[in-house]
Protein backbone atom coordinates (compact mmCIF):
# COMPACT_ATOMS: atom_id res chain seq x y z
CA UNK A 1 0.00 0.00 0.00
CA UNK A 2 2.71 2.46 0.98
CA UNK A 3 4.68 1.80 -2.17
CA UNK A 4 1.60 2.24 -4.36
CA UNK A 5 0.68 5.58 -2.87
CA UNK A 6 4.28 6.71 -3.09
CA UNK A 7 4.39 5.88 -6.79
CA UNK A 8 1.10 7.69 -7.28
CA UNK A 9 2.40 10.75 -5.42
CA UNK A 10 5.53 10.87 -7.55
CA UNK A 11 3.39 10.78 -10.70
CA UNK A 12 1.09 13.51 -9.34
CA UNK A 13 4.13 15.67 -8.55
CA UNK A 14 5.69 15.01 -11.95
CA UNK A 15 2.49 16.03 -13.71
CA UNK A 16 2.02 19.16 -11.57
CA UNK A 17 5.62 20.33 -11.90
CA UNK A 18 5.97 19.69 -15.64
CA UNK A 19 2.63 21.27 -16.53
CA UNK A 20 3.14 24.33 -14.37
CA UNK A 21 6.60 24.88 -15.87
CA UNK A 22 5.29 24.54 -19.41
CA UNK A 23 2.46 26.98 -18.63
CA UNK A 24 4.82 29.48 -17.10
CA UNK A 25 7.16 29.31 -20.09
CA UNK A 26 4.20 29.87 -22.39
CA UNK A 27 2.84 32.84 -20.51
CA UNK A 28 6.26 34.48 -20.09
CA UNK A 29 7.36 33.76 -23.67
CA UNK A 30 10.59 32.40 -22.28
CA UNK A 31 11.90 28.86 -22.33
CA UNK A 32 14.55 29.03 -19.64
CA UNK A 33 12.30 29.78 -16.73
CA UNK A 34 10.14 27.85 -14.29
CA UNK A 35 7.69 28.81 -11.53
CA UNK A 36 10.11 27.58 -8.88
CA UNK A 37 12.89 29.85 -10.16
CA UNK A 38 10.42 32.73 -9.82
CA UNK A 39 9.79 31.80 -6.21
CA UNK A 40 6.34 30.22 -6.49
CA UNK A 41 7.07 27.33 -4.15
CA UNK A 42 9.13 29.53 -1.84
CA UNK A 43 5.95 31.58 -1.54
CA UNK A 44 4.02 28.45 -0.59
CA UNK A 45 6.48 27.59 2.17
CA UNK A 46 6.37 31.20 3.37
CA UNK A 47 2.58 31.06 3.62
CA UNK A 48 2.75 27.86 5.69
CA UNK A 49 5.42 29.36 7.93
CA UNK A 50 3.33 32.47 8.51
CA UNK A 51 0.37 30.25 9.39
CA UNK A 52 2.40 28.36 11.99
CA UNK A 53 3.91 31.57 13.35
CA UNK A 54 0.64 33.46 13.76
CA UNK A 55 -1.60 30.54 14.74
CA UNK A 56 0.96 28.74 16.88
CA UNK A 57 2.24 25.24 16.21
CA UNK A 58 -0.32 23.59 18.49
CA UNK A 59 -3.31 25.20 16.78
CA UNK A 60 -1.78 24.59 13.37
CA UNK A 61 -1.22 20.89 13.88
CA UNK A 62 -4.80 20.22 14.96
CA UNK A 63 -6.22 21.98 11.92
CA UNK A 64 -7.55 19.48 9.37
CA UNK A 65 -4.96 19.02 6.61
CA UNK A 66 -7.68 19.49 4.04
CA UNK A 67 -8.51 22.97 5.36
CA UNK A 68 -4.87 24.00 5.50
CA UNK A 69 -4.36 22.82 1.93
CA UNK A 70 -7.47 24.61 0.62
CA UNK A 71 -6.74 27.88 2.39
CA UNK A 72 -3.06 27.88 1.40
CA UNK A 73 -4.01 27.22 -2.18
CA UNK A 74 -6.51 30.09 -2.22
CA UNK A 75 -3.96 32.49 -0.72
CA UNK A 76 -1.38 31.19 -3.19
CA UNK A 77 -3.62 32.08 -6.13
CA UNK A 78 -4.27 35.60 -4.85
CA UNK A 79 -0.62 36.21 -3.97
CA UNK A 80 0.76 34.96 -7.28
CA UNK A 81 -1.73 37.07 -9.22
CA UNK A 82 -0.76 40.13 -7.21
CA UNK A 83 2.97 39.54 -7.60
CA UNK A 84 3.35 38.16 -11.08
CA UNK A 85 0.56 39.51 -13.28
CA UNK A 86 2.00 43.03 -13.54
CA UNK A 87 5.51 41.66 -13.93
CA UNK A 88 4.54 39.44 -16.84
CA UNK A 89 2.85 42.29 -18.66
CA UNK A 90 5.80 44.63 -18.33
CA UNK A 91 8.72 42.27 -18.73
CA UNK A 92 7.51 40.02 -21.52
CA UNK A 93 10.33 41.05 -23.80
CA UNK A 94 12.91 41.47 -21.12
CA UNK A 95 14.15 38.03 -20.14
CA UNK A 96 16.89 39.20 -17.84
CA UNK A 97 14.60 41.48 -15.89
CA UNK A 98 12.06 38.70 -15.50
CA UNK A 99 14.62 36.22 -14.20
CA UNK A 100 16.30 38.75 -11.95
CA UNK A 101 13.01 39.81 -10.39
CA UNK A 102 12.11 36.16 -9.93
CA UNK A 103 15.38 35.35 -8.23
CA UNK A 104 14.97 38.35 -5.95
CA UNK A 105 11.39 37.30 -5.10
CA UNK A 106 12.51 33.75 -4.39
CA UNK A 107 15.37 34.91 -2.16
CA UNK A 108 13.09 37.34 -0.37
CA UNK A 109 10.48 34.66 0.34
CA UNK A 110 13.15 32.24 1.58
CA UNK A 111 14.76 34.92 3.78
CA UNK A 112 11.45 35.87 5.38
CA UNK A 113 10.72 32.18 5.89
CA UNK A 114 14.02 31.55 7.63
CA UNK A 115 13.58 34.72 9.68
CA UNK A 116 10.25 33.44 10.99
CA UNK A 117 11.76 30.02 11.56
CA UNK A 118 14.49 31.56 13.70
CA UNK A 119 12.26 33.57 15.97
CA UNK A 120 9.76 30.77 16.35
CA UNK A 121 9.51 28.27 19.21
CA UNK A 122 11.77 25.25 18.48
CA UNK A 123 8.82 22.88 18.83
CA UNK A 124 6.86 24.85 16.30
CA UNK A 125 9.91 24.93 14.06
CA UNK A 126 9.67 21.19 13.68
CA UNK A 127 6.20 21.65 12.18
CA UNK A 128 7.50 23.92 9.43
CA UNK A 129 10.87 22.31 8.81
CA UNK A 130 9.12 19.29 7.36
CA UNK A 131 7.51 21.52 4.73
CA UNK A 132 10.57 23.54 3.77
CA UNK A 133 12.69 20.98 1.98
CA UNK A 134 12.08 18.69 -0.95
CA UNK A 135 11.53 15.17 0.27
CA UNK A 136 10.79 12.18 -1.90
CA UNK A 137 11.27 9.51 0.75
CA UNK A 138 8.66 10.75 3.14
CA UNK A 139 5.64 11.95 1.22
CA UNK A 140 2.46 13.38 2.76
CA UNK A 141 0.20 10.59 1.57
CA UNK A 142 -2.74 11.83 3.67
CA UNK A 143 -3.19 14.63 1.18
CA UNK A 144 -2.75 12.38 -1.81
CA UNK A 145 -6.42 11.85 -2.67
CA UNK A 146 -7.48 15.47 -2.47
CA UNK A 147 -4.31 16.54 -4.31
CA UNK A 148 -5.06 14.03 -7.02
CA UNK A 149 -8.63 15.26 -7.42
CA UNK A 150 -7.48 18.87 -7.69
CA UNK A 151 -4.75 17.90 -10.12
CA UNK A 152 -7.05 15.97 -12.43
CA UNK A 153 -9.57 18.84 -12.54
CA UNK A 154 -6.81 21.36 -13.30
CA UNK A 155 -5.20 19.18 -15.95
CA UNK A 156 -8.58 18.89 -17.70
CA UNK A 157 -8.85 22.69 -17.78
CA UNK A 158 -5.32 22.99 -19.19
CA UNK A 159 -5.98 20.35 -21.81
CA UNK A 160 -9.06 22.20 -23.00
CA UNK A 161 -6.95 25.36 -23.29
CA UNK A 162 -4.23 23.66 -25.36
CA UNK A 163 -4.97 25.46 -28.63
CA UNK A 164 -5.26 28.82 -26.91
CA UNK A 165 -1.92 28.14 -25.22
CA UNK A 166 -0.33 27.64 -28.65
CA UNK A 167 -1.52 31.10 -29.67
CA UNK A 168 -0.49 32.73 -26.37
CA UNK A 169 3.03 31.34 -26.80
CA UNK A 170 3.41 33.39 -29.99
CA UNK A 171 3.67 36.59 -27.97
CA UNK A 172 1.42 39.51 -27.14
CA UNK A 173 0.87 41.11 -30.56
CA UNK A 174 0.33 37.85 -32.44
CA UNK A 175 -2.08 36.57 -29.80
CA UNK A 176 -4.12 39.77 -30.08
CA UNK A 177 -4.04 39.53 -33.85
CA UNK A 178 -5.40 35.98 -33.70
CA UNK A 179 -8.23 37.02 -31.41
CA UNK A 180 -7.02 35.81 -28.02
CA UNK A 181 -6.79 38.19 -25.09
CA UNK A 182 -3.32 37.70 -23.58
CA UNK A 183 -4.20 39.57 -20.37
CA UNK A 184 -7.16 37.35 -19.58
CA UNK A 185 -5.14 34.26 -20.52
CA UNK A 186 -2.25 35.36 -18.27
CA UNK A 187 -4.68 35.75 -15.38
CA UNK A 188 -6.09 32.23 -15.78
CA UNK A 189 -2.73 30.62 -16.42
CA UNK A 190 -1.28 32.19 -13.25
CA UNK A 191 -4.22 30.77 -11.28
CA UNK A 192 -3.57 27.32 -12.74
CA UNK A 193 0.16 27.53 -11.99
CA UNK A 194 -0.58 28.50 -8.39
CA UNK A 195 -2.79 25.42 -8.03
CA UNK A 196 -0.17 23.10 -9.55
CA UNK A 197 2.57 24.50 -7.33
CA UNK A 198 0.33 24.13 -4.26
CA UNK A 199 -0.29 20.49 -5.12
CA UNK A 200 3.33 19.53 -5.68
CA UNK A 201 4.69 21.56 -2.76
CA UNK A 202 2.09 20.16 -0.38
CA UNK A 203 3.13 16.63 -1.32
CA UNK A 204 6.93 16.78 -1.53
CA UNK A 205 8.02 20.32 -0.71
CA UNK A 206 9.79 22.74 -3.07
CA UNK A 207 11.72 21.25 -6.00
CA UNK A 208 13.55 24.07 -7.70
CA UNK A 209 14.98 22.81 -10.98
CA UNK A 210 12.90 19.72 -11.74
CA UNK A 211 10.41 21.49 -14.01
CA UNK A 212 13.11 23.19 -16.02
CA UNK A 213 14.97 19.96 -16.86
CA UNK A 214 11.79 18.08 -17.60
CA UNK A 215 10.32 20.62 -20.00
CA UNK A 216 13.67 21.25 -21.71
CA UNK A 217 14.11 17.54 -22.34
CA UNK A 218 10.51 17.30 -23.55
CA UNK A 219 11.17 20.12 -26.03
CA UNK A 220 14.19 18.23 -27.33
CA UNK A 221 12.25 14.98 -27.67
CA UNK A 222 9.23 16.60 -29.30
CA UNK A 223 10.34 19.83 -31.02
CA UNK A 224 6.93 21.35 -31.71
CA UNK A 225 5.13 24.53 -30.65
CA UNK A 226 1.90 22.59 -30.07
CA UNK A 227 0.78 22.15 -26.49
CA UNK A 228 -1.28 19.08 -27.39
CA UNK A 229 2.06 17.29 -27.81
CA UNK A 230 4.20 19.22 -25.31
CA UNK A 231 1.79 18.72 -22.40
CA UNK A 232 1.93 14.96 -22.85
CA UNK A 233 5.64 14.68 -23.55
CA UNK A 234 6.65 16.82 -20.59
CA UNK A 235 4.32 14.89 -18.27
CA UNK A 236 5.88 11.61 -19.45
CA UNK A 237 9.45 12.89 -19.14
CA UNK A 238 8.56 14.19 -15.67
CA UNK A 239 7.15 10.86 -14.54
CA UNK A 240 10.14 8.95 -15.91
CA UNK A 241 12.59 11.34 -14.25
CA UNK A 242 10.96 11.23 -10.83
CA UNK A 243 9.97 7.58 -10.64
CA UNK A 244 13.15 6.39 -12.36
CA UNK A 245 15.31 8.69 -10.27
CA UNK A 246 13.73 7.58 -7.04
CA UNK A 247 14.15 3.94 -8.09
CA UNK A 248 17.86 4.50 -8.77
CA UNK A 249 18.33 6.27 -5.46
CA UNK A 250 16.57 3.56 -3.48
CA UNK A 251 17.95 0.48 -5.23
CA UNK A 252 21.35 1.49 -6.58
CA UNK A 253 22.58 4.26 -4.29
CA UNK A 254 20.74 2.87 -1.28
CA UNK A 255 19.43 6.27 -0.21
CA UNK A 256 22.89 7.77 0.35
CA UNK A 257 22.02 10.83 -1.76
CA UNK A 258 18.55 12.40 -1.73
CA UNK A 259 16.99 12.56 -5.20
CA UNK A 260 16.19 16.25 -4.75
CA UNK A 261 19.90 17.06 -4.45
CA UNK A 262 20.72 15.29 -7.70
CA UNK A 263 17.81 16.92 -9.53
CA UNK A 264 18.72 20.37 -8.28
CA UNK A 265 22.36 19.84 -9.21
CA UNK A 266 21.64 18.64 -12.76
CA UNK A 267 18.83 21.17 -13.17
CA UNK A 268 21.01 24.00 -11.93
CA UNK A 269 23.65 23.13 -14.52
CA UNK A 270 21.02 23.01 -17.27
CA UNK A 271 19.71 26.41 -16.18
CA UNK A 272 23.21 27.91 -16.24
CA UNK A 273 23.93 26.51 -19.70
CA UNK A 274 20.68 27.95 -21.08
CA UNK A 275 21.34 31.29 -19.44
CA UNK A 276 24.86 31.54 -20.84
CA UNK A 277 23.70 30.43 -24.29
CA UNK A 278 20.97 33.08 -24.14
CA UNK A 279 23.41 35.82 -23.25
CA UNK A 280 25.78 34.90 -26.05
CA UNK A 281 22.96 35.00 -28.59
Amino acid sequence: MFRGSKLLSLIVVALAVSTSTLLFQTVSGNQIIAPSIMGFDALYVLLLTCAVYFLGGATFSVLPEMTVFAVTMAVMIVASLALFSTLLGAAQNDVMRLILTGVIFATLFRSITSFFQRIIDPNEYAVIAANSYARFNRIETDLLWIAMAVLVATVVVVWRMRHRLDVISLGYAQAVNLGEDPRRATFWILCLIAIFVSVSTALVGPVVFLGLIVVSVARLVTPTPHHSVLLISSALVGAITLVGGQLLMERVFALTTPLSVVIDFVGGCVFLIFLLKGIRR
Binding site: N93, H163, S169, L170, A173, Q174, V176, N177, G179, P225
Partner: protein
Protein backbone atom coordinates in the same frame (compact mmCIF):
# COMPACT_ATOMS: atom_id res chain seq x y z
CA UNK B 1 -14.84 50.86 -43.43
CA UNK B 2 -12.18 51.77 -40.88
CA UNK B 3 -13.03 55.04 -39.18
CA UNK B 4 -10.86 56.76 -36.58
CA UNK B 5 -12.56 59.54 -34.62
CA UNK B 6 -10.99 62.05 -32.21
CA UNK B 7 -8.42 59.49 -31.20
CA UNK B 8 -5.53 60.43 -28.91
CA UNK B 9 -2.80 58.31 -27.40
CA UNK B 10 -0.09 59.18 -24.89
CA UNK B 11 2.63 57.17 -23.19
CA UNK B 12 3.64 58.36 -19.70
CA UNK B 13 2.68 61.96 -20.44
CA UNK B 14 4.18 62.16 -23.92
CA UNK B 15 1.57 62.61 -26.63
CA UNK B 16 2.07 60.17 -29.48
CA UNK B 17 -1.18 60.82 -31.35
CA UNK B 18 -3.38 63.85 -30.89
CA UNK B 19 -6.98 63.98 -32.00
CA UNK B 20 -6.74 61.85 -35.14
CA UNK B 21 -9.72 61.81 -37.47
CA UNK B 22 -9.39 59.51 -40.44
CA UNK B 23 -11.48 57.43 -42.81
CA UNK B 24 -9.73 54.72 -44.74
CA UNK B 25 -10.95 54.25 -48.31
CA UNK B 26 -12.49 50.81 -48.91
CA UNK B 27 -10.95 48.35 -51.31
CA UNK B 28 -7.60 50.03 -51.95
CA UNK B 29 -4.04 50.09 -50.63
CA UNK B 30 -3.51 53.03 -48.29
CA UNK B 31 0.08 53.88 -47.34
CA UNK B 32 0.91 55.69 -44.11
CA UNK B 33 4.00 57.81 -44.60
CA UNK B 34 5.85 60.27 -42.43
CA UNK B 35 9.12 60.76 -40.56
CA UNK B 36 10.27 58.52 -37.72
CA UNK B 37 8.20 59.07 -34.61
CA UNK B 38 5.21 60.47 -36.47
CA UNK B 39 2.93 57.90 -34.86
CA UNK B 40 2.26 55.68 -37.89
CA UNK B 41 2.90 52.37 -36.14
CA UNK B 42 1.03 53.53 -33.06
CA UNK B 43 -2.02 54.38 -35.14
CA UNK B 44 -1.89 50.93 -36.70
CA UNK B 45 -1.57 49.27 -33.28
CA UNK B 46 -4.61 51.19 -32.00
CA UNK B 47 -6.73 50.07 -34.95
CA UNK B 48 -5.60 46.48 -34.33
CA UNK B 49 -6.34 46.81 -30.56
CA UNK B 50 -2.74 45.96 -29.60
CA UNK B 51 -2.63 49.25 -27.72
CA UNK B 52 -5.65 50.98 -26.29
CA UNK B 53 -6.42 54.59 -27.17
CA UNK B 54 -7.03 56.91 -24.22
CA UNK B 55 -9.79 58.79 -25.99
CA UNK B 56 -11.79 58.66 -29.17
CA UNK B 57 -13.42 55.85 -31.08
CA UNK B 58 -12.20 53.48 -33.77
CA UNK B 59 -14.65 51.38 -35.75
CA UNK B 60 -14.13 48.61 -38.29
CA UNK B 61 -17.43 48.20 -40.14
CA UNK B 62 -19.96 47.67 -37.34
CA UNK B 63 -17.32 46.62 -34.78
CA UNK B 64 -16.07 49.13 -32.23
CA UNK B 65 -12.50 48.51 -31.08
CA UNK B 66 -12.46 47.79 -27.37
CA UNK B 67 -16.12 46.79 -27.18
CA UNK B 68 -16.37 44.06 -29.78
CA UNK B 69 -15.38 40.43 -29.34
CA UNK B 70 -11.67 39.96 -30.10
CA UNK B 71 -12.46 36.78 -32.00
CA UNK B 72 -14.91 38.51 -34.33
CA UNK B 73 -12.33 41.17 -35.06
CA UNK B 74 -9.65 38.53 -35.78
CA UNK B 75 -11.86 37.24 -38.60
CA UNK B 76 -12.24 40.75 -40.00
CA UNK B 77 -8.84 42.38 -39.51
CA UNK B 78 -5.25 41.17 -39.28
CA UNK B 79 -2.03 42.97 -38.44
CA UNK B 80 1.63 42.31 -39.02
CA UNK B 81 3.74 44.25 -36.53
CA UNK B 82 7.39 45.22 -36.91
CA UNK B 83 8.64 43.27 -33.95
CA UNK B 84 8.26 39.61 -34.72
CA UNK B 85 10.30 37.86 -32.08
CA UNK B 86 8.62 34.65 -31.02
CA UNK B 87 8.79 32.79 -27.77
CA UNK B 88 8.16 29.50 -29.50
CA UNK B 89 10.41 27.78 -32.03
CA UNK B 90 8.33 27.38 -35.17
CA UNK B 91 8.72 26.11 -38.69
CA UNK B 92 7.45 28.23 -41.56
CA UNK B 93 4.46 25.89 -42.00
CA UNK B 94 3.61 26.10 -38.27
CA UNK B 95 3.65 29.88 -38.47
CA UNK B 96 1.52 30.13 -41.60
CA UNK B 97 -0.92 27.60 -40.07
CA UNK B 98 -1.53 29.90 -37.11
CA UNK B 99 -3.06 32.37 -39.56
CA UNK B 100 -6.07 30.05 -39.79
CA UNK B 101 -6.57 29.87 -36.02
CA UNK B 102 -9.33 32.53 -35.84
CA UNK B 103 -11.30 30.45 -38.35
CA UNK B 104 -11.01 27.00 -36.79
CA UNK B 105 -9.87 27.67 -33.19
CA UNK B 106 -7.75 24.55 -33.03
CA UNK B 107 -9.37 22.08 -35.35
CA UNK B 108 -8.15 22.69 -38.89
CA UNK B 109 -10.42 21.58 -41.72
CA UNK B 110 -9.35 20.50 -45.22
CA UNK B 111 -10.20 24.04 -46.39
CA UNK B 112 -7.85 25.53 -43.83
CA UNK B 113 -5.03 23.22 -44.91
CA UNK B 114 -5.60 24.14 -48.55
CA UNK B 115 -5.47 27.87 -47.71
CA UNK B 116 -2.22 27.31 -45.82
CA UNK B 117 -0.62 25.58 -48.80
CA UNK B 118 -1.82 28.35 -51.14
CA UNK B 119 -0.25 30.97 -48.90
CA UNK B 120 3.03 29.05 -48.71
CA UNK B 121 3.06 28.69 -52.47
CA UNK B 122 2.11 32.29 -53.19
CA UNK B 123 5.04 33.64 -51.18
CA UNK B 124 7.59 31.17 -52.62
CA UNK B 125 8.03 29.41 -49.30
CA UNK B 126 7.51 25.84 -50.50
CA UNK B 127 11.18 24.92 -50.14
CA UNK B 128 11.46 26.63 -46.79
CA UNK B 129 8.20 25.28 -45.36
CA UNK B 130 9.80 22.83 -42.94
CA UNK B 131 12.72 25.02 -41.88
CA UNK B 132 12.74 26.78 -38.51
CA UNK B 133 12.19 30.54 -38.49
CA UNK B 134 15.35 31.03 -36.40
CA UNK B 135 17.40 29.59 -39.27
CA UNK B 136 16.03 31.89 -41.98
CA UNK B 137 17.34 35.21 -43.26
CA UNK B 138 15.49 38.40 -42.35
CA UNK B 139 13.82 38.59 -45.74
CA UNK B 140 12.67 34.97 -45.73
CA UNK B 141 11.29 35.37 -42.22
CA UNK B 142 9.43 38.51 -43.27
CA UNK B 143 7.88 36.61 -46.18
CA UNK B 144 6.74 33.85 -43.83
CA UNK B 145 5.02 36.38 -41.58
CA UNK B 146 3.31 38.04 -44.51
CA UNK B 147 2.15 34.60 -45.70
CA UNK B 148 0.62 34.02 -42.25
CA UNK B 149 -1.29 37.28 -42.50
CA UNK B 150 -2.37 36.28 -45.99
CA UNK B 151 -3.62 32.91 -44.69
CA UNK B 152 -5.72 34.71 -42.08
CA UNK B 153 -7.63 36.02 -45.11
CA UNK B 154 -9.32 39.02 -43.50
CA UNK B 155 -11.09 41.89 -45.26
CA UNK B 156 -8.76 44.39 -43.62
CA UNK B 157 -5.00 43.88 -43.49
CA UNK B 158 -2.60 46.17 -41.60
CA UNK B 159 1.10 45.85 -42.37
CA UNK B 160 3.72 47.73 -40.39
CA UNK B 161 6.74 48.22 -42.64
CA UNK B 162 6.42 44.95 -44.52
CA UNK B 163 9.32 45.91 -46.80
CA UNK B 164 11.78 45.80 -43.93
CA UNK B 165 14.45 43.25 -44.77
CA UNK B 166 13.05 42.65 -48.25
CA UNK B 167 15.28 43.18 -51.27
CA UNK B 168 14.07 44.97 -54.38
CA UNK B 169 12.81 41.78 -56.05
CA UNK B 170 10.79 40.68 -53.01
CA UNK B 171 9.46 44.21 -52.52
CA UNK B 172 8.42 44.45 -56.16
CA UNK B 173 6.74 41.08 -55.78
CA UNK B 174 4.87 41.97 -52.60
CA UNK B 175 3.54 45.42 -53.48
CA UNK B 176 1.66 44.41 -56.67
CA UNK B 177 0.35 41.40 -54.79
CA UNK B 178 -1.19 43.72 -52.20
CA UNK B 179 -2.64 45.77 -55.02
CA UNK B 180 -4.16 42.67 -56.63
CA UNK B 181 -5.65 41.52 -53.33
CA UNK B 182 -7.53 44.80 -53.16
CA UNK B 183 -8.53 44.83 -56.83
CA UNK B 184 -9.57 41.16 -57.09
CA UNK B 185 -10.86 40.33 -53.62
CA UNK B 186 -11.98 43.75 -52.41
CA UNK B 187 -9.61 43.80 -49.48
CA UNK B 188 -8.63 47.01 -47.72
CA UNK B 189 -4.95 47.26 -46.87
CA UNK B 190 -3.13 49.83 -44.74
CA UNK B 191 0.62 49.68 -44.96
CA UNK B 192 3.28 51.74 -43.20
CA UNK B 193 6.04 52.49 -45.67
CA UNK B 194 9.33 54.28 -45.20
CA UNK B 195 10.29 54.48 -48.83
CA UNK B 196 8.17 57.24 -50.35
CA UNK B 197 8.74 55.93 -53.84
CA UNK B 198 7.23 52.53 -53.07
CA UNK B 199 4.27 54.38 -51.58
CA UNK B 200 3.95 56.61 -54.64
CA UNK B 201 4.28 53.75 -57.09
CA UNK B 202 2.03 51.11 -55.50
CA UNK B 203 -0.42 52.77 -53.09
CA UNK B 204 -3.78 54.12 -54.18
CA UNK B 205 -4.12 56.46 -51.22
CA UNK B 206 -1.53 58.15 -49.04
CA UNK B 207 -1.91 59.40 -45.49
CA UNK B 208 0.93 61.67 -44.47
CA UNK B 209 1.60 62.09 -40.75
CA UNK B 210 3.84 64.27 -38.62
CA UNK B 211 4.07 64.70 -34.84
CA UNK B 212 1.01 62.58 -34.14
CA UNK B 213 -1.23 64.35 -36.60
CA UNK B 214 -2.52 63.69 -40.09
CA UNK B 215 -1.08 66.35 -42.39
CA UNK B 216 -2.45 65.25 -45.74
CA UNK B 217 -4.61 62.53 -47.25
CA UNK B 218 -5.33 61.74 -50.89
CA UNK B 219 -3.88 60.17 -54.01
CA UNK B 220 -0.07 60.01 -54.24
CA UNK B 221 -0.14 62.90 -56.72
CA UNK B 222 -2.09 65.11 -54.33
CA UNK B 223 -0.08 64.27 -51.21
CA UNK B 224 3.45 63.80 -52.45
CA UNK B 225 4.28 67.35 -53.49
CA UNK B 226 7.67 68.95 -53.10
CA UNK B 227 6.06 71.37 -50.63
CA UNK B 228 4.64 68.59 -48.42
CA UNK B 229 7.87 66.58 -48.48
CA UNK B 230 9.86 69.61 -47.44
CA UNK B 231 7.33 70.57 -44.70
CA UNK B 232 6.94 67.12 -43.23
CA UNK B 233 10.38 65.59 -43.63
CA UNK B 234 12.39 68.83 -43.28
CA UNK B 235 14.47 68.04 -46.32
CA UNK B 236 14.51 69.61 -49.77
CA UNK B 237 13.90 66.78 -52.23
CA UNK B 238 12.87 67.22 -55.83
CA UNK B 239 9.57 65.53 -56.78
CA UNK B 240 8.96 64.64 -60.44
CA UNK B 241 6.02 63.05 -62.16
CA UNK B 242 6.96 59.86 -64.00
CA UNK B 243 4.23 57.85 -65.78
CA UNK B 244 1.59 59.85 -63.94
CA UNK B 245 3.02 59.03 -60.50
CA UNK B 246 5.19 61.27 -58.35
CA UNK B 247 8.81 60.20 -57.75
CA UNK B 248 10.99 61.64 -55.05
CA UNK B 249 14.53 62.16 -56.25
CA UNK B 250 16.73 61.01 -53.37
Amino acid sequence: MIRVQNTSYAVSGTTILSDINLEITQGVVTALVGPNGAGKSTLLSLIARINKAQSGQITVDDLTIGDCDDRDLALRLSILTQDNTMGARLTVRDLVSFGRYPHHRGRATADDLATIETAIDRFDLTELADRYLDDLSGGQKQRAFIAMTFAQNTDYILLDEPLNNLDIAASRHLMPLLHDLCADQGKTIIVVLHDLNYAARYADQLVMMRDGQVVAQGTPKEVLTAQNVSDVFQTEADVRIIDGRPMVIV
